[in-house]
Amino acid sequence: MSIKLENLNYTYSPGNAYEKHALKNVNLEIPHGQFVGIIGHTGSGKSTLIQHLNGLMKATSGALYYDGKNIYDEGYDMKALRSQVGLVFQYPEHQLFEVDVLTDVCFGPKNQGLSEEECLKRAKEALELVEFPEKYYHQSPFELSGGQKRRAAIAGVLAMKPKVLVLDEPTAGLDPKGRDDILDQIERLHKETGMTVILVSHSMEDIARYVERIIVMNHGEKLFDGMPKEVFAHYKELEQVGLAAPQVTYMMHDLKAQGMDVRTDVTTIEEAADEIMRCFHD
């Protein structure tokens, strides 16, 4: 179930005044079950990149292998790919259209050709997974709060039981609590179902504590790719491309500069607290 990108290039409106080389020679391999964060400044090509993963956009050049098969080969079953790689767009609540939440979540499974009961079963499962309150199942999706709409929309993709879940800035426009709730839920989803999760964000702080691997995009190119602490070690370069390492990284570097013998590769506040306590105990 791995995804592999080879020298992927994408150009918007080629040969036109609005021409934009949005992806430049991207090479990437994402094994099954990984929790990956894709991060980059606005306009760095994150959304463009992930729309390639389920074949919605076709690369100008290069290859994309899903499960070892090149999806650009003649006769490749794109519909099957799209039910394996679930893509949640930015502001997914803007795609809701049905009369009630449950029916809307059923849209995906119905397109997969499942029976009515199976669709309902899947929809309910998906809504439970995102902890959508049952009392709103039969309400119009347009009458929900922002956070609930987003949950319903994410459930709409989950109901298709994808093996890979890609989320484009799932926390955009949510308040801090709504943001933490959604991210916690995504993490739980990853743990419980073991699916590959690809989380796109422009905020390091958001994803640092959740993901196992961070891919940094800059001007359509892959800049860094590694475990969070490896990537954060480049905090100076990250600043130059308009990103920042989490605040604890800065704090630990400052402490170290002041002569305290702490490790600088911690990524979360909890780890940092433990590390500082360890120094005091020593």
């Binding site: 409106s13 919605l56 519909k79 039910s83 893509l87 767009f89 803007h94 795609q95």
Partner: protein, 274 residues
């Protein structure tokens, strides 16, 4: 995909045509269109060709963009040509077979008609390629200003036009996004018969309408919050003022118009039947 629609689109470039006052471009385009209809001779069309070619060259808009706009009228064009070719009578017969007869007059009319239509589209798309929608509406507003006296709400109409124009690319982008989101959920927009295809549009149209209303609402709110209350006493941040180059453009166009009418109508030059 959906963004590739070119008709009525702006082509950003730095050229003297782009810099002209929008009023000049509107009036000169109208004069050019008139020039195509007040004469009907090969010399006249030759002058029009030269004029159009020079303006296109100066505008720096690639010819292929302007030609692409013609795709929209291919059917109309063919229809006109075929109709004129076979139905116009007059002069000697050039070609005859069964019920199909082409006369000299028919050939002449159909060729000239085709050229006229093509130049008409090329001329007007050149205007939209070199003028942003906003300055186009500014120009129209200013040109129609005298109608205010007859209680025509010129400012309001122009404001509506510029908002509508502004929303077209936004709504196209939105449509693109919603389509992609639904395709990602397995929606099938292509296959099936008409009824199935129409049904498949529901998941796209409903969110699109919701979003259009939401945006319209937001915009109205934002305008009211800034005390917008129509055209009365409203000044412009960038008022339209004629510069030297604008007067020059007028002069060139008027000279062209005089030339084409003078030569096209009064110089009896003929090449075969044209």
């Amino acid at each position: 995909m959906i963004r590739d629609i070119t008709i009525g689109q702006y082509y950003p470039a730095k050229s003297s045509i782009h810099r002209l006052d929008p009023r000049v471009k509107i009036v000169c385009t109208l004069l050019f269109l008139i020039s195509l209809f007040v004469q009907n001779s090969i010399l006249g069309y030759a002058i029009a060709t030269v004029f159009l070619a020079v303006v296109i060259k100066v505008s720096k808009v690639p010819l292929k963009f302007i030609v692409r706009g013609l795709k929209a009228i291919v059917i109309l064009l063919m229809f006109t040509v075929v109709m004129n070719l076979f139905l116009t009578k007059g002069g000697e017969e050039i070609f005859g077979f069964w019920i199909f007869h082409i006369s000299e007059q028919g050939l002449r009319t159909s060729v000239f008609m085709a050229v006229r239509l093509i130049y008409l589209i090329m001329g007007s798309s050149l205007m939209t390629f070199t003028t942003t929608p906003n300055s186009l509406t500014d120009g129209i507003e200013s040109l129609l200003h005298p109608l205010n006296r007859f209680h025509v709400p010129v400012h309001e109409v122009a404001m509506m036009m510029s908002i509508a124009l502004r929303f077209i690319p936004i709504l196209l982008e939105e449509t693109d996004k919603i389509m992609k989101a639904q395709i990602a959920r397995g929606a099938d927009l292509e296959s099936g018969n008409i009824i199935q295809k129409t049904k498949a549009m529901v998941p796209i149209l409903v969110p699109l309408f919701v979003s259009a209303f939401r945006r319209a609402n937001d915009l109205a709110m934002a305008m009211e919050a800034r005390c917008y209350c129509g055209g009365e006493g409203r000044t412009k941040m960038k008022p339209l003022i004629y510069k030297n180059r604008d007067y020059m453009a007028y002069t060139v166009t008027v000279v062209y118009l005089v030339l084409i009418i003078g030569i096209g109508r009064f110089v009896p030059f003929k090449l075969w039947i044209f």
